[in-house]
C-alpha cells in the first residue's frame, strides 16, 4: 500500500442552528486502498466527503493532495484532482439516454463529435471496466442498480483516482452490492482509491483496508480492516448505546382474530406494463407482524403501493379492516388509520423543503381546515425525543438533516400515526444499527401494545426474522408462505428468494 494521497486536516463545519457537523477531523486517504467511513446517523460522514468533493466548504481546516495544500470549492475542481463522488441518489437526467448523460461530463470530445462516436467509446470503456450497460437505453427505464452502474462508469470515464461512495450502495440488493465491491477491489488493485460511507459494519469489515469511525462530528479512531472486531467498531461508533443493538428475535405477538390487511387474488401492473404482482393472497391480523422477504424488484414495491391505494390493482380485491378499498385511492386507506413507510422515502415519505412540523401537520391534520400547531409541535417534540432525531428544532427544514435523520423523521411520523395497520417497506434502510434496532422495537411494540397489523417488507433477512410473526417470500410477483419464523429454515427462505 502506498503513502497517503489525500489528507483532510483539522476539518471543522457547523450548520444552521449551531449543529456541529465536524470538529477538527483529520483523516488521510491512501492510494490503492478502500477506506470505510463509519458512524451513526448524523456523525458527519457525508459532510466530510462533501467537503472533499467541493459541495461544502470547511469552516476551518485544510485539504492536502500529494502533499500540496489545495482549495476544492466545487465538484469541477475535485474532478480535476481525480476525485469523483457517487451519491445515494443517481444524478442522471431521466429523459436522456445513457450516452447522452455521460457525454455531458466528458472533456475529450468537442461539440461536433457525433453521438455514435461517443457511444462507441462508452461501450468500449464499459467493457474494459466490466460494467454492462446499453448506451442507448433511456435512463428512466434503468433500474436503480443500473443507474448506479452508470454513475460508476461516469467516474471511470472522468479518470477518477479516488471514488467517494456516499452511501451509494445503501439501496442496492445484497447480490448487486457484492458485485460492486468486487469491482471496487479491482479498481483499488490497479492503484485507485475508494472511500465507502456506510453504516453496516460487517460490510465495512468485508471490503475495507482501513476503517475510520466518526462520532458526533469527531474522529474516534482508525483501525485496520483485517484486524478490527465488530464489537470494537460498534463501541467506537455508538459508545454505550452499542448495548442496545440486538438481532435477537423480538417477543412474539399474540395476534387477534380480526384480519386487518387482506388481499384476494391481487394483480398489479408494473411501470413497464408487466404483471408485477401476480395473484397474491395475503392476510395480516390485528397485532401481527407479517414479513415479506425478497430481492428488490420482485413486485414488493407494487404490492405495497397497491395496498396503500397509490397504484391501481388490475384484478382482485384489497380489504383494510374489512373495508373494500380496492382502487379507491390512498385517501380511503389513510382514513382507516394506516401508516406507510415507503420504499422511496424522499419521494413519498417526506417533503424535504418543508419543516418537520409541516410534514407532520400534512398527515395528522389532513382533515382539519385549520391547523392546530400546538398539537403538531407536541407530536414533533415527542418524536424528536423518542427517536433521537438530530434536528435544530421542529420548525427546521428537513433538508438540513442527514440522510439517517431524514429516515428517522419518516419512520417515526408513520409509526406514531398508524392506528389499525402499518405498511413498512425497508423501514431501517439508511439507519445505523442503534436506530434500526430502535425502529424494529417500535414496530413490534405497536403490534403488541396497540394491536396494529404490520406488513413488513424488507430485503434484510435478519430484520424479517427478528420482527415477524410469520414470513412470506416474494419472487417474480408471487407470494410464497406463510412460514412460521421458528420453523422456516433460512436456507430455504433464501432459496425461495432466488429461484
Amino acid at each position: 500500500m502506498s503513502d497517503e494521497y489525500i489528507v483532510l486536516k483539522e476539518i471543522s463545519k457547523r450548520f444552521a442552528g449551531g449543529v456541529v457537523a465536524l470538529d477538527k477531523v483529520t483523516i488521510d486517504i491512501r492510494m490503492g486502498e478502500v477506506l470505510a467511513l463509519l458512524g451513526e446517523n448524523g456523525a458527519g460522514k457525508s459532510t466530510l466527503i462533501k467537503i472533499l468533493y467541493g459541495v461544502y466548504s470547511a469552516d476551518e481546516g485544510s485539504i492536502y493532495i500529494n502533499g500540496r495544500r489545495v482549495d476544492v470549492h466545487s465538484p469541477t475542481e475535485a474532478i480535476k484532482y481525480g476525485i469523483v463522488m457517487v451519491s445515494q441518489h443517481p444524478q442522471l437526467i431521466d429523459t436522456l439516454s445513457v450516452v447522452e448523460n455521460l457525454a455531458l461530463g466528458l472533456r475529450n470530445f468537442n461539440a461536433f463529435t457525433s453521438i455514435r462516436k461517443i457511444s462507441s467509446f462508452i461501450l468500449e470503456k464499459s467493457r474494459e471496466f466490466g460494467v454492462k450497460v446499453d448506451p442507448w437505453e433511456k435512463v428512466w427505464r434503468l433500474t436503480y442498480t443500473q443507474k448506479q452502474l452508470v454513475e460508476i462508469l461516469r467516474a471511470m470515464l472522468l479518470k477518477a483516482r479516488v471514488i467517494l461512495l456516499d452511501e451509494a450502495l445503501t439501496y442496492l440488493p445484497l447480490e448487486e452490492k457484492k458485485k460492486f465491491y468486487k469491482f471496487i477491489k479491482e479498481f483499488t488493485a490497479k492503484g485507485g482509491s475508494t472511500v465507502v460511507i456506510t453504516h453496516k459494519i460487517p460490510e465495512a469489515l468485508d471490503v475495507a483496508d482501513r476503517i475510520a469511525v466518526l462520532r458526533r462530528g469527531r474522529l474516534v479512531g482508525i483501525v485496520e480492516g483485517t484486524s478490527a472486531r465488530i464489537e470494537d467498531v460498534r463501541r467506537m461508533m455508538f459508545g454505550e448505546s452499542a448495548a442496545e443493538i440486538t438481532y435477537e428475535k423480538l417477543p412474539a405477538s399474540q395476534p387477534g382474530g380480526r384480519v386487518v390487511i387482506e388481499t384476494q387474488d391481487l394483480w398489479v401492473t408494473g411501470d413497464f406494463g408487466e404483471d408485477a404482482v401476480r395473484g397474491v393472497d395475503l392476510r395480516v391480523r390485528e397485532g401481527e407482524v407479517v414479513g415479506i422477504a425478497g430481492i428488490v424488484g420482485n413486485g414488493q414495491r407494487e404490492l405495497t403501493q397497491a395496498l396503500m391505494g397509490l397504484r391501481k390493482a388490475s384484478r382482485g380485491r384489497i380489504l383494510i379492516d374489512g373495508r373494500n378499498v380496492t382502487n379507491r385511492g390512498i385517501h380511503e386507506v389513510r382514513e382507516v388509520g394506516v401508516g406507510y413507510i415507503p420504499d422511496s422515502p424522499l419521494a413519498l415519505g417526506i417533503s424535504i423543503d418543508n419543516s418537520m412540523a409541516e410534514n407532520i401537520a400534512a398527515l395528522y391534520q389532513r382533515k382539519s381546515a385549520l391547523i392546530n400547531w400546538s398539537e403538531v409541535y407536541k407530536v414533533a417534540s415527542s418524536l424528536i425525543e423518542t427517536y433521537r432525531i438530530v434536528i435544530p428544532g421542529a420548525d427546521s427544514l428537513i433538508k438540513v438533516l442527514s440522510g439517517g435523520n431524514i429516515m428517522k423523521a419518516v419512520v417515526s411520523k408513520e409509526i406514531n400515526y398508524c392506528k389499525k395497520a402499518l405498511i413498512a417497506h425497508n423501514p431501517t434502510r439508511a439507519l445505523d444499527e442503534v436506530s434500526a434496532a430502535m425502529v424494529r422495537r417500535s414496530i413490534k411494540e405497536k403490534a403488541i401494545n396497540n394491536g396494529v397489523a404490520v406488513l413488513l417488507v424488507s430485503e434484510d433477512l435478519d430484520e424479517i426474522y427478528q420482527v415477524s410473526d410469520s414470513i412470506h417470500v416474494m419472487n417474480s410477483g408471487k407470494l410464497y408462505g406463510p412460514f412460521p419464523p421458528d420453523e422456516a429454515e433460512r436456507s430455504k427462505v433464501e432459496h425461495l428468494m432466488v429461484i
Binding site: K13, R14, F15, A16, G17, V55, Y56, S57, D71, H73, M308, L310, G329, I330, H331, V333, R334, E335, Y340, P342, A347, L348, G349, I350, S351, I352, D353, N354, E358, N359, A361, A362, L363, Q365, R366, K367, S368, A369, L370, I371, W373
Partner: protein
C-alpha cells in the same frame, strides 16, 4: 487573492430584501451610464428615477399590485403558475357593472344601506367570478393535464374579448357622448375619499400633502391591501389548504402519499388565487376605473402582468410583496417621468426595467450561495 462562490449552509437573514435594494441601485447606475450615450447627464437620470419613488402616483399602483401579488403568491407557492391575473381582473368586473348599473342602480330614492350592500355584494361576486375564471385553468391542469401557463395566458385574451363583447352590446352606456364604453359607476358606489388641499407654495410641503391626499383617497385600498395580505398570511400559516399548496410546490408525490387529493389542491390554488384577484378587481373598479372602455386591451394598465413581476421579485415571500409592489410601481412611474423629462422614449424605460431585472436575476444566486475572498 481570488473570489470563490460557495453554497450557503444557513440562510442570511436579510439577504432577500438586500438583493432587491441592491438590484435597484445597480440598475439605476447602469441606466444612468447608458443614457450618457444619448447625452443625458447621469445626475439628472438618477434624480428623475429617485424622484419617481417618492411621488404620490406610486400609492395606487403599489396598493393594487400588493393585492395582486398576494393573489399570485397563493398559486405560485404551489408551483401552479397563474399568469392569468389580467383576465381574472377584467372578468371579475363584469358582475360589478351589471349589479351597479343594471340590477341595483343608485337613484335619489335609494335607501342609504343600499350603498353598503351593493359594494359588499360587488366585492363578493367579483371574488366568485375571479375564482371561477381561475378554476377553469385549474380544472384543466388537474383533471386533463393541460399546462396552466398557456391556458391562463390565453384566457386573458378570452377575458378581453368577452368584456369587449359586453361593452359593444348589453353594457354599452347611454350617457357616453358617442364613446364606446359603459356608463360611469354611480358616485354612491365609489370607493374613494376625495379631499381638497390648498397648495402652500412650498414644493416639499406640497409634495408631502399630495402624498397624504393620495393615501386618504385610497384609504379603502389600504384597508383592502392589508386584509388581502393578512388573509394570505392566515392561509399559509394556519390552514390546511395553505400547507397543502406549499407541499404541492415542493413534493406533490408526498402530498398524495398522505392521502390528500393533489388535483383538488391544484384546483383550489388557482381558484383561491383568482378569488383574491377578484377582490382586487372590485377595489380597482369601484375606487379608480369606474367604467370600461372599448377596446379594453388598449385601455388596460397591465396590472395583471405586472403582478407576475411583483411575485417573482418577492422570491415568493409574503413580507416582501409590498416592497416588490413598491419597487415595480415606482419603476413604472420612473419610466413615465423619464419620458416626460426627455430622457429617451419608451426604450429608456425598458432599459431601466431590463437593467434592474437583469441585476436581480444575477444577484438572486446570493440567496443560495455566498461569495468569499480566499488567498
Amino acid at each position: 487573492m481570488r473570489f470563490i462562490v460557495v453554497r450557503r449552509t444557513k440562510p442570511h437573514q436579510y439577504i432577500k430584501p438586500l438583493i432587491i435594494v441592491l438590484s435597484l441601485l445597480t440598475g439605476m447606475i447602469l441606466v444612468a451610464i447608458l443614457l450618457v450615450l444619448i447625452g443625458a447627464h447621469p445626475v439628472t437620470t438618477l434624480v428623475t428615477i429617485a424622484y419617481s419613488f417618492i411621488t404620490p402616483q406610486v400609492v395606487k399602483d403599489m396598493l393594487l399590485l400588493t393585492m395582486l401579488g398576494c393573489a399570485l403568491l397563493i398559486s405560485f407557492k404551489g408551483a401552479v403558475w397563474n399568469v392569468g391575473a389580467e383576465g381574472q381582473l377584467y372578468v371579475a368586473i363584469i358582475p360589478i357593472v351589471w349589479i351597479t348599473l343594471y340590477a341595483v342602480p343608485w337613484s335619489a330614492s335609494s335607501p342609504p344601506h343600499q350603498q353598503v350592500l351593493v359594494i359588499l355584494a360587488s366585492i363578493t361576486v367579483a371574488a366568485l367570478f375571479g375564482a371561477a375564471w381561475g378554476a377553469i385553468a385549474g380544472a384543466l391542469r388537474a383533471y386533463v393535464g393541460i399546462d396552466e401557463v398557456p391556458v391562463t395566458l390565453i384566457m386573458n385574451y378570452v377575458a378581453y374579448y368577452l368584456v369587449n363583447l359586453l361593452i359593444l352590446g348589453p353594457f354599452r352606456g347611454r350617457y357616453v357622448y358617442g364613446y364606446i364604453r359603459t356608463d360611469d359607476l354611480p358616485d354612491a358606489y365609489k370607493l374613494s375619499i376625495n379631499i381638497v388641499m390648498q397648495r402652500t407654495g412650498n414644493a416639499f410641503l406640497d409634495g408631502f400633502l399630495e402624498f397624504i391626499r393620495a393615501i386618504v383617497y385610497y384609504a379603502y385600498w389600504v384597508l383592502a391591501a392589508i386584509l388581502v395580505a393578512l388573509l394570505t398570511w392566515v392561509v399559509f400559516n394556519y390552514t390546511s389548504i395553505g400547507l397543502r399548496i406549499k407541499i404541492l410546490g415542493s413534493n406533490p408525490e408526498f402530498l398524495k402519499a398522505v392521502g390528500v387529493d393533489a388535483r383538488k389542491t391544484i384546483l383550489t390554488a388557482l381558484a383561491l388565487s383568482g378569488s383574491l384577484v377578484g377582490i382586487a378587481s372590485a377595489i380597482y373598479y369601484l375606487g379608480d376605473l369606474t367604467r370600461l372602455t372599448y377596446p379594453i386591451q388598449s385601455q388596460t394598465a397591465s396590472y395583471g402582468y405586472l403582478a407576475i413581476l411583483v411575485a417573482w421579485l418577492s422570491m415568493l415571500e409574503l413580507p416582501l410583496i409590498p416592497l416588490s409592489a413598491y419597487v415595480v410601481s415606482s419603476l413604472r412611474n420612473a419610466g413615465r417621468n423619464m419620458q416626460i423629462f426627455g430622457l429617451g422614449g419608451l426604450e429608456s424605460t425598458l432599459i431601466l426595467l431590463g437593467s434592474i431585472l437583469l441585476t436581480y436575476s444575477t444577484l438572486r444566486f446570493l440567496t443560495e450561495y455566498e461569495v468569499r475572498v480566499v488567498k
